[in-house]
Amino acid sequence: MSAPSTTSAVQSALARDKLGTLSLLHFSLTAATPLTVIAGGVVVMFAVAGQIGIPLGYVIIAASLLLFSVGYTAMARHIANAGAMYAFVARGLGRVPGVAAAWVAATSYCALQVSLYGYLGYVAQGLFASIGIDLPWWAFALVAWLLVGLLGTRAVDINAKILAVLLTVEVAVVLVFSASNFANAADGVTFDAFSPSALSGEAAGAVLALAVIGFIGFESPTVYGEEARDRKRTVARATIATVLILAFIYIVSSWSIITAAGADNVVASAIADFDLMFTLAGDQLGPAWETTGRILLLTSVTAAALSFHNTTARYLFALGREQVVFSWLGRTSVRTCAPVAASITQTVAGGLVIVLWAVLGLDPVVHLFYYLGTASGIGLIALILTCAIAVLAYFARDRREESLWASRIAPVLAILAMGGVLYLSVIHFHTLLGVEKGSLLPKLVPVVFAILAALGALWALFLKKARPEVYSGIGHGAKAPLVQAAERAAVPVGAAGER
């Protein structure tokens, strides 16, 4: 009898079906919507901060996130359900902090997604008013809300294809606008925006907090860890490439706006005209490009809303599967396998906020987009920082053959960097919101997140005592039922195994 072949036919077939770096890059970049970040974020940052150091802010955040990504992707190689940051916290710091992080994460993503409806309503209102259709912002927001709600219950791959097309066009337009800005420099191309003095004072924290939001989505390649061609390298390459590509786009485009408007005039121009990016394009390239840019901004904000809708739904779905929150959130659509219950929940939350803001007559840009969006930024920075601490704690117990750089040095540097960003963001939060120092609102946001984290921790402690099998599955996402079944079979009630 001949010896069995040493090559595995099954492994070979599975390897052919695995995802490479470019595939993962596709998934992570489609979660980013650069035109929204630049047209909706960068110009506002000039206005809010009153400084020209925005490109430097992006450099600092990109460097911090690159440091974070080193340890984050190293840990992702060793854990299942690496898709959600709270899973890292649960494995690194324990299940109680994990659930606390999950509550903060779900709320932050949800708030960020809902905030986009305010900006979307504002952009659509302006665009349609120019062709004689005058409707309130909330009417456009509700149309987009319905579209996102419907697409959210479809298969994720359909959404990814739509987002990929929009992203390609967006990046092309941003690069054209940026090239045009550099070609039409007001005072020549200078590096003043990268000087440390260009980013200082009370506005620094505001700039850094807004800059972080632009990168959200960089963490998504870890979702596909088990489907990656080379789990050790592919996910890390895709995550780092995502940060680098986004950083390049944001730095170049923000620098180009300064160059075109002039370092001395850009702040005043941004305050006077929130559509500065398109105004510059209109002056330089003609009104057709300006109109194209405005239309693409609308599709970009819609894509951003869809992208964050998917991310939030995925978070809620994973939590539902773990039964950490309502288990019905873990239901999928039979036909499309989309996380339908979580998606509908997010849609309902968005609808309620739009209706509430409309009824109360609140401003869609200031009170919805800025307030909710920037508040969610604080939550997400805190989440990244907690995740960085979890990575360090995870490797402190056992380095698992990872390098000293990946397991110790990079996580420590990431904690210092993200800790600094969080500190500045919180103490300068009043600048971000455009309110007086010492007023209630800036204090309220960190307190709300702290209360959420505390409630999450209390819920985890309750689960530990009352439902140990559910507690054992925390942080395992889709694989939670396996862990819970093993817990039921192997461990007596009350002994919930390791942290």
């Binding site: 595995s8 099954v10 396998c337």
Partner: protein, 223 residues
């Protein structure tokens, strides 16, 4: 006869996951592949041709040499694949492999031979491509597996056979709980849970990994 049993677990799984009618939709294509893979593995474990053993935290699939090879080509194909592997692979890897190996078509072809399905061909008007379709030879027989499970759940008067209990677990795992439990009397879920809790460890492992694989599909959107 609406609840006439079809002869194999994998056929029942096909009719539950891939066949759609007024009462029950078909599930997503990848989930069909995962469900059929789980059913085929479970069938061969039940017949003693394969075994699932836990080793170092992994649920490995092993060939069991007892009693000769399976008599049908579908079972033989998988058993020979398991035997041909240089290292034992885990259940998730086999489910993944079976999901991408067009197990749906292989099973449908078997069911055509068994007289349960009818093979048809449709030519696309625009592309000119020929698309192969599989329709149930008898709509009532196609509904039989789900009807049988629902009968157990509605009467709750007798113990479910082991393979039907696994089929029930599979139906839940692929996301068809609503079709299963809709309009069932109170206590049906507890009755089902009572059966699922006592599934043998290998079948529990296959069930758990199927549930996890379906959830992974929902998260990654890899259809």
């Amino acid at each position: 006869m609406p609840d006439a049993p079809t002869p194999r677990l994998v056929y029942d799984a096909f009719l539950i996951t891939a066949y759609h009618d007024f009462y029950k939709p078909a599930v997503a294509p990848r989930v069909i592949g995962l469900g059929l893979g789980a059913a085929l593995l479970a069938e061969l474990v039940f017949s003693g041709h394969l075994a699932v053993r836990s080793h170092a935290g992994r649920d490995l699939v092993l060939a069991e040499p007892r009693g000769g090879p399976p008599r049908d080509s579908l079972g033989l194909w998988l058993t020979e694949l398991v035997q041909g592997e240089p290292d034992h692979l885990a259940v998730p890897e086999w489910l993944e492999y079976l999901a991408i190996s067009d197990t749906q078509t292989k099973t449908a072809e078997h069911m055509v031979v068994a007289g349960l399905m009818v093979r048809g061909e449709q030519r696309s008007r625009w592309l000119g491509k020929v698309q192969v379709t599989y329709d149930a030879a008898d709509a009532l027989i196609a509904q039989a597996p789900l009807a049988r499970l629902r009968r157990y759940l509605s009467t709750m008067d007798r113990r479910m056979p082991l393979l039907d209990a696994f089929l029930l677990a599979l139906t839940e795992s692929v996301g068809l709980s609503k079709s299963l439990y809709s309009q069932m009397p109170s206590g049906a879920r507890e009755y089902a849970e009572g059966h699922l809790r006592v599934l043998p460890a290998p079948l529990q492992a296959i069930r758990g990994h199927l549930t996890a694989a379906v959830a992974d599909t929902a998260i990654t959107g890899n259809l």
